[in-house]
Symmetry: C2
């Protein structure tokens, strides 16, 4: 295979990127202009989740790679972005000794983990809790490779067999993998067909991230290094054991092939490998679109929750006496919150599913001074409705047919 940006080759990158940017910018505008001010007025964040930052919109979908050492994780990244990247180390012995976020940058540079985790506009601040031992083993590699405008790749240190590595690490490998797995849009487990091996720690890691099973795919790499009959045995053995480790009845998708630029062309199964590679690349290519759509989805969900929240608070405020007996009335209202929910739901024709949990809400209301909430402002509410009923549907309509199919349209 020629060295080239394989991922990009057939992806029509500019169009995808253009759309992703358009969606992101649209969502940002709606959120910061309309939604966030209302959240502040009605203390939404104290009842639901914390406000979103710019980084939450800008973050690119990420792919996490995990596997035993020398299964070809780093080579896979090099193959995907079509070039070398700063800090990349490839070799037959255990080479990558740290987690590396390979991401877009105008220039090649490496940012050490401590520095990267300290920057609030980057998505790595959460990694600080794993301590300095871990941050010393974390690095961002910025590269001006076009594919990285769409996705971020997370390389990980290869897992060795035996306990020595685990004891020497100084941080909890499985927990770190869980952290990345929660945030990843795709998790690739790499296996080496030529040396199939699932160590205890790899097994524990797979178990640890199995909550994310719908995002997990498997790559059986270096498949062209063994005969086709051997490959069937190895592949069978892999599935046999994976099924036991992953517990889920749904079978993980496995891509069988050789995922680097030197794939052989004379193997009996070469056609299979080529199709598998094409499938994997096209599956990865859907990530940015799926990620755009899921961002839209999340904003819609948040707007709905917010609307219900405001209606409830407004109902409570309006029921309060102007001068005396406020605290007694507050208690009374909290006790009858169930009825108030019903009333609000009917009056504003809201979906029951958008209401918060009754008991949780009661607890949070307790001790709140209702005077702290702003008064409902009709024009602001109209703008929220406009976002929900016009702006977001318009954004979705502008996304291509193809991308719409991938994730459920939140309006359907």
């Amino acid at each position: 295979m020629k060295k080239a940006e394989v991922y990009v080759e057939a992806s029509g990158i500019s169009e995808v990127r253009r759309q992703a940017v358009e969606v992101t910018e649209g969502l940002k505008r709606m959120y910061f202009d309309v939604v966030r001010p209302l959240e502040a007025d009605f203390l939404f964040n104290e009842f639901h989740s914390s406000p979103w930052g710019v980084g939450d919109f800008d973050a690119r979908p990420s792919i996490l790679l995990i596997g035993q050492y020398s299964t070809g994780k780093t080579s896979f990244i090099k193959f995907l972005i079509g070039r070398d990247f700063p800090g990349q180390r490839i070799g037959p012995e255990p080479t990558t000794d740290r987690f590396m976020a390979v991401m877009y940058g105008d220039q090649e540079r490496c940012i050490p983990g401590n520095a990267a985790a300290a920057q609030a506009d980057r998505p790595w601040t959460g990694l600080q809790k794993f301590g300095v031992e871990f941050l010393n083993r974390f690095e961002c590699s910025e590269v001006p490779a076009p594919v990285l405008q769409e996705i971020t790749l997370i390389d990980s240190p290869g897992i060795l067999s035996g306990e020595k590595q685990r004891l020497q690490r100084g941080y909890d490998f499985v927990k770190v993998c869980r952290w990345f797995a929660e945030r990843a849009d795709k998790i690739l487990l790499l296996f080496d067909a030529h040396k199939l091996d699932i160590s205890d720690e790899f097994k524990r890691t797979i178990e640890g991230i199995s909550f994310a099973h719908s995002k997990i795919s498997v790559v059986l790499n270096k498949a062209d290094m063994i005969s086709h009959q051997e490959l069937m045995r190895v592949y069978g053995a892999l599935m046999w054991s994976l099924g036991k480790v992953m517990k889920t009845p749904e079978v993980a998708r496995v891509y069988v092939g050789s995922f680097w630029e030197n794939a052989k062309t004379d193997h009996i199964f070469v056609k299979l490998f080529q199709q598998e590679r094409a499938d994997l690349l096209s599956d990865l290519r859907t990530l940015p679109k799926a990620s755009s759509m899921s961002k839209v989805n999340e904003l819609v969900r948040r707007c709905r929750l917010l609307k219900v929240h405001i209606c409830i608070i407004n109902e409570l405020k309006e029921s309060m006496p102007s001068f005396f007996g406020k605290s007694k009335k507050t208690q009374e209202l909290i006790e009858n919150l169930g009825d108030i929910f019903l009333q609000v739901q009917k009056r504003h024709q809201l979906a029951v599913g958008d209401f918060p949990n009754l008991e949780d809400f009661k607890e949070k209301l307790n001790g709140f001074d209702f005077a702290k909430f702003k008064k409902m402002n009709t024009s602001k509410m109209d703008r929220l409705d406009h976002v929900l009923s016009f702006e977001i549907p318009k954004l979705i309509n502008n996304m291509t047919e193809d991308s719409k199919g991938k994730v459920l349209n939140p309006f359907e």
Copy 2:
């Protein structure tokens, strides 16, 4: 593929058969001339297992086929023996409605289950316990196909999805499968790549016979009916689920291909299928040899147990007083049986592992009149030693190198 006796083609059947017959006849002679009379003299069968019959020597190794309906079990048998057999029914709907033992006979004929199970010289008497409802659904099909001189094939009714079939059967399918599985030398689980399906009952059946996992192989049949990429998915899914059902860490051997005379020749994986078929046939071909060797093995084991048994009994007899105090002495001997075992072992230089369980033996001795045992006859004992030290080793040496390799030589 041409219609031919595929199994036979490359097996050198006459040589294998000649050897098997030679071994069987040799073993029979030793057992009935030397061993069995000694067993009778020393009531061996009351302490160990019941005496062997001619049928135990003559029985051919058997292959049991199990699978959902229409996975190609009956077609597989037809393919293996290279011809049709009486009672054979093949078709896309559920066809085989009974268990069928397809075995050698000089002429084509069907023997109904009730009759077959009533004949003491056939290995089916044990099936009577499953009742007449089952025996009505059992049949022997005798065919003069050379391959059946070496092996017997057990066809089974295909399993349907859903509970209806199970409720209507009138016998316990899983238990019957267990019975055949215990006696089989190989169990083939057939799956249809084109319509992969593991019903609850098939799952229960696999679990029920999983004690015999070392004898289980899997056939992924009709593999040429789907594309190679689909096949990889199906194969992966099969292994994923089988690993969960079979529990053992060792991966079952799966033969992927199309096992009938109409296998396609234009599939991308055709070479794989051909190799897999060759592997399966050659694995099946080892069965008669392995079975001969394991018969030898069992006889050696039995001779050793017998020798130890006779030495113990003889020691006990010799310790008895001639006239008075017999019953008191008997009790005393039983209490000190441990010491007597040690004494016997040293005097005759016997292996500790050939001694029976002390407590079991004590219990069986209780209430026995030692006078019932014959006196030890030196010339008979010498013949037993001759069998162990000369005749059996000679028999083994006459078996070809190839067959010796398959099962551990009991003398090594």
